[in-house]
């Protein structure tokens, strides 16, 4: 039993020693070159993102202005259309009701008599 325990303890010690035996890594020259390349890419990406976001902001502003313009144009057009429709209706009334009063109904009737004649 004692022997087994000693054997296990030895294995444990050997395994823990692995950490002490790890030699420190030396940094290769290429490490810094790669890092600088990566940072360059990161910087470019950042600046392009900034341009895109600025462009987005401008685009959104332009779209907003366009919507406001179109909206105001639509409202004014509708108002004008209402007004002109009223004018047209009034004009049509005036044109069709040549003799709106009862006293002048005779002329209408005469016209219809004329139509009835063979």
């Amino acid at each position: 039993m004692k022997l087994i325990n000693e054997k296990i303890e030895l294995e444990v010690c050997k395994t823990l020693e692995v950490l002490d035996e790890i030699k420190p890594l030396e940094v290769q020259h290429i490490f810094r070159v790669k890092l600088m390349q990566r940072i360059d890419v990161d910087l470019k990406q950042k600046s392009s993102n900034r341009v895109v976001s600025r462009f987005d902001y401008r685009l959104a502003y332009m779209v907003l202005l366009l919507i406001i313009n179109l909206g105001s144009a639509f409202v004014s057009l509708r108002q004008n259309a209402d007004q002109s429709m009223k004018n047209i209706v009034q004009l049509a009334d005036i044109q069709s009701d040549d003799y709106p009063a009862q006293e002048f109904a005779y002329y209408d009737q005469t016209t219809s008599y004329e139509h009835r004649l063979p």
Binding site: K14, T15, L16, V18, V27, I39
Partner: protein, 174 residues
């Protein structure tokens, strides 16, 4: 300025990452990520701690994130294996053969150690691994962990005890 900062700290950052991941390639990738992060956030550094402490804290955080990702991937691939969707391409790449630590101690012993380390509470793991690296004083580890020196000593002590128990249990059954 940034170049000199990299030159000054690259070795420490690389070896800190290496202590956590035990793989040169991963450690180099992580060290690069650390410096990219430093470059991005240098303007936000408030000088509440030393610049070196801030950089090494980033290195520790990145390494732990990497290990968490690996563990998630491991769990997911074992789940896939269980339900019969195993894809060999999804398997975690075994540490490369040119890894000095592996050459020294052998794949199995290192894997056993890594598994035991993975089961430790995070603060114990950080304190223990940093204490094993040359260049970190207990004060520096305390600054990185934002705790006191006595707390670091206690964490390292408990980590050693826990590791011993876990490894003992492992070798008892194998």
């Amino acid at each position: 300025m940034f170049r000199s900062l990299v030159a000054e700290h690259q070795e420490m950052v690389l070896n800190t990452c290496y202590r956590f991941v035990f793989n040169r390639q991963d450690a180099e990738d992580l060290a690069q990520e650390v410096f990219v992060e430093v470059f991005r956030s240098l303007g936000q550094f408030r000088e509440e701690s030393k610049l070196s402490t801030w950089i090494y804290r980033i290195a520790v955080t990145k390494s732990l994130d990497h290990l968490r990702r690996l563990n998630r991937k491991k769990r997911f691939s074992s789940l896939k294996r269980v339900i019969g969707l195993a894809d060999t391409a999804d398997d975690i790449a075994a540490p490369s053969k040119n890894n000095p630590a592996e050459e020294l101690a052998g794949n199995e012993r290192l894997t056993v150690l890594q598994n035991a380390l993975d089961t430790l509470p995070e603060s114990q793991k950080i304190a223990f691994l940093l204490s094993k690296q040359d260049g970190y004083s207990n004060q520096e580890i305390a600054d990185i962990l934002e705790t006191s020196v006595s707390a670091v000593e206690s964490l390292v002590h408990r980590a050693k005890k826990n590791l011993h128990n876990k490894l003992y249990a492992y070798y008892k059954h194998h």
